[in-house]
């Protein structure tokens, strides 16, 4: 069974958010990584671009499939993980650590009130297997 850290907030579209003040670090869950298979390419938006909650942020390509990344929050991109451009496998190896994708400055943290907890998300995906 995959791991879902308790300090993260989860979306049913398989993104996670680590909220630190007004900065949200966004990545995809171990479940999503496992479903996609070996990740070979990550396409992320430019810094400064703004997104509404639910907008498509980018794409993650594995050998066999394409996955879309949706923004769990409204805000502006302040940083993206450049290490993934050269080494997309970081996402496979460490999705909650070195495989993070983007940092977004959040307009309204209450948007995350309806996010799933680790146990809710875990029940959703592991139960569905």
């Amino acid at each position: 069974m995959a791991e879902y850290p308790d300090d993260l907030k989860y979306q049913d579209s398989h993104e996670y958010v680590r909220l630190d003040g007004e900065i949200a670090t966004i990545g995809i869950t171990e479940f999503a990584v496992r479903e996609l298979g070996e990740i070979v390419f990550v396409e992320l938006p430019e810094i400064g671009k703004t997104f509404a909650k639910g907008d498509e942020l980018g794409t993650i390509e594995s050998v066999k499939a394409v996955g879309e990344l949706y923004s769990p929050v409204t805000g502006a991109v302040v940083e993206s993980n450049n290490a993934l451009i050269d080494d997309p496998e970081l996402l496979n190896d460490d999705p909650y650590g070195e495989g993070w994708l983007l940092k977004i400055r959040v307009d309204d943290p209450s948007e995350l009130d309806d996010a799933l907890t680790a146990s809710q998300y875990s029940a959703l995906v592991e139960g569905a297997e």
Binding site: G37, E38, V40, K64
Partner: protein
């Protein structure tokens, strides 16, 4: 066949299904079958086949034998390739054609000598091919047998395939050339061994009874052969630019359009179904062709994406992936013949944006160790 493999399910399972489950393969639905898509991971399985050896359960493929007077002559009328060249122990990769020159299936015809032939066909087209063959052969002279449900087919592929297989076979494998085949004992039991495959590497396709197949699979696994699934099979065959039926070729594409002109032998053989269409295409040139594309960036062109030239849609990608061996994305696409020259700059639309691609020679990858 043992009943445990016939548990009522919507998807068929091969006699090796349980071995895949034991190895924790990830399973997928493919052409009506529940098949392993990957074991350890597509990339590592792919690399095992390119560098050492991997094995695939391909028992889902259709397996026929035809025996009887003039069996080769009769088959000559169904394919564009000249089968009269075949010596016993040789095989021909070819296509069954409909009257429009379209490809009913791509198949391998193994001539075993003495008016005996084995044919291996795609899994999803097995029933279609069987119907076609039975309709178009003179069955007064030919005995047709469908071995599909009762035989296991294992593809052992890679530069080390011969070394891994030899200990289990009483016959010397070394003299068998590419597309050569013979009957020999494996683990003391009769087997059909062919030096063919779908990965662009040296290797063998081995047809045996289920019990022998399971034992061979276990022995090869214990010897270090990497089990590989449909995912690696797809990246391997695509690097070798081999067509996938239903995706790159189908009933509406002719072998000349699909870059399979090398198996059309109009000059040396007589009439066959579809001949007049191929003659016309040969005389006038084809309108569209299946070409190899190399993406200029890292975005992957996939099946169904549109190919553009000067902003206009001109064609469609039929297969695409990132090549694990080459490290960049490659694709097969149908485009107008006038744009099919090697070096032609095109674009592929990926998620609403156009990305540069260039027409390159097929195959994308060629093995240095292939027999």
């Amino acid at each position: 066949m043992a009943n445990q493999e016939n548990i009522a399910a919507s998807l068929a399972r091969t006699p090796l299904y349980q071995l895949g489950v034991e190895l924790k393969a990830r399973l997928t639905s493919f052409g009506g079958w529940e098949m392993p898509v990957q074991y350890s991971g597509i990339t590592s399985e792919h690399e095992a086949v390119r560098n050492a050896a991997g094995m695939f359960d391909i028992s889902h493929m259709g397996k026929f034998t035809l025996e009887g007077k003039k069996v080769i002559d009769q088959l000559q009328g169904l394919v564009p390739s000249d089968l009269s060249r075949l010596q016993a122990g040789q095989a021909q990769y070819t296509v069954l054609l409909n009257p429009q020159g379209g490809i009913i299936d791509d198949i391998i015809i193994y001539y075993q000598g003495e008016e005996k032939v084995a044919i291996v066909v795609n899994a999803a087209t097995t029933a279609k091919d069987k119907t076609w063959l039975l309709q178009n052969l003179n069955l007064d002279e030919i005995q047709f047998q469908d071995l599909s449900p009762e035989k296991v087919l294992i593809a052992l592929q890679g530069p080390q395939a011969e070394n891994y297989l030899q200990p289990f076979v009483e016959t010397d494998l070394q003299p068998i050339k590419a597309f050569g085949h013979l009957q020999a004992n494996i683990l003391g039991q009769p087997a059909f061994i062919a030096r063919t495959g779908y990965t662009g590497e040296d290797g063998f396709e081995i047809m045996v009874d289920p019990e022998v197949g399971r034992e061979l699979w276990r022995n090869l696994y214990n010897a270090g052969v990497v089990p590989a699934g449909l995912g690696a099979r797809d990246t391997l065959r695509l690097e070798a630019a081999m067509a996938l039926y239903g995706q790159d070729i189908d009933d509406n594409t002719t072998p000349l359009e699909a870059g399979l002109g090398w198996l059309v032998h109009l000059d040396t053989k007589g009439d066959f179904i579809g001949r007049s269409v191929l003659e016309q295409q040969k005389a006038n040139g084809v309108q569209r062709r299946l070409v190899g594309l190399q993406m200029q960036g890292r975005n992957i062109a996939r099946h169904g994406y549109q190919v553009l030239s000067a902003g206009q849609v001109v064609g469609e990608v039929t297969s695409g992936t990132i090549s694990p061996t080459l490290g960049y994305p490659v694709a097969l696409a149908y485009i107008p013949s006038k744009l099919a020259k090697v070096g032609q700059q095109l674009e592929v639309e990926i998620r609403g944006k156009a990305y540069p691609a260039v027409v390159v020679k097929r195959p994308f990858y060629r093995s240095k160790t292939k027999k």
